[in-house]
Amino acid sequence: MTAPDGRTPAGRMTVGPAPDVPAPDGAAVDRDGRRTFTPDFLTELFRNPLDPGYAAAAERKARGEGPTGAARKVISGITALALAALGFLLVVAYQQTMAEEPARSRAHDELVDQVQNRRAETVRLQNRADRLRAEVAALRERQLGGAAVARLRDLEAAAGLAPVRGGGARITLTDGPTPVDPLTGERETEAQVKDTDLQLASNALWSGGAEAIAINGQRLTATSTIRQAGEAILVDVRPVTSPYEVVAIGPDTLADGFRDGYAGRFFRELANRYGMRFDAAEVGDVTLPAATDLNLRVASPSPAPSRSGAPDRSSTGGG
């Protein structure tokens, strides 16, 4: 360090506080009572990276105070040991790093494998479920026969459990332009279709007499949800994207009614103001798929058990 060695004239010692004692702010008061600032830690670090201990040791050696003879031999031996430890450390660290690397990529590969396996499994199970469902339908048809099956089919169609076909209306909503703000880099989402818009459209269709509705091929049931998650819209937890097609099966007047009703006026206003695209058209013949994740939640035994003894499960509002 830059501490002046003890050549302070004794007579000046009384001026000011004791010299070479650094003040809390790193300043030292020198012999003349002036405050000198020693380089701070980082400056010193950059200027003189060598441990000052080496210079001190060399000085001691020059004065002939260093260890001699056997002590010196011992210390050299310890140096050799330290270097051996260094080599050991380097090798261990290297091998450790090398050993960790494959572990990391192995974990990644394993995860990819797992995802793919699960996907294949899902497809397999889905196919099996479809096959079994068809089997169940066929068996039920054979067992019940005639009117009961027809009634069941009507109920299923109304509940969204079975695909339906017919004429109705197709409402198309498309996001307007979403420019990126050049200053903030954020996308303006005003002109995007929101979950409430789709809710409004479906509710207007229901009230217009629609019997079945699907949004982008997702059949709505009594418990369907249309929610916004960030910028995505989820219909029954599955994402749908623009353009949104709300297809409904219902009376022939459905499209006209929608266009002239509150919802139609609302969407025309949105289209005018934000540049969304809105279209309501009549469709002659469309097929809406069955809802996918309908779970049987409530079941009660039929009051009159069938002859075969098997309880006839009647689904009550299972969806």
Binding site: P49, D51, Y54, A57, L83, A84, G87, V91, Q95
Partner: protein, 130 residues
């Protein structure tokens, strides 16, 4: 001790080459030992290994520079080596306990890196006169 000034350069050179030989042999021996024993590092110590290596490198480059400056001292080297490794490990351990382990490791690496850089620059000036 009177006439040491006369003989000093030759003696210093001899000691220096001998010491370098020992140092290199010791280093190689350590590497071989590591390869032969292939030790597994306990999981608790694994985060400190890279920091320990950087700290050790700092001590080594300091030692090499001191050697080239002609002021190498065995005791100083050993003490700085051991204390560097221990203090670096301790700082990172403390940081881990305080929840700033990553940042403190970065700080330690920066400070030691600056020192290594400075010492390597001095070594370079010794070796290439540039």
């Amino acid at each position: 001790m009177k006439d040491t000034t006369q003989r000093r350069p030759a003696r210093a050179a001899r000691i220096s080459s001998e010491g370098t030989m020992i140092a290199v042999i010791a280093l190689v021996a350590g590497v071989v030992l590591g390869l032969v024993f292939d030790p597994t590092v306990p999981a608790g110590l694994q985060p400190y290994l890279p920091i320990a290596v950087v700290a050790a490198l700092d001590a080594v480059f300091g030692g090499v520079r001191a050697k080239l400056d002609g002021i190498f001292d065995d005791k100083q080297f050993v003490v700085s080596f051991v204390s560097n490794v221990l203090v670096a490990g301790l700082i990172v351990y403390l940081g881990d306990q305080l929840g700033v382990g990553g940042q403190l490791s970065t700080g330690v690496v920066v400070v030691l890196g600056v020192r290594i850089f400075g010492n390597v620059a001095a070594i370079r000036r010794h070796l290439f006169r540039a």
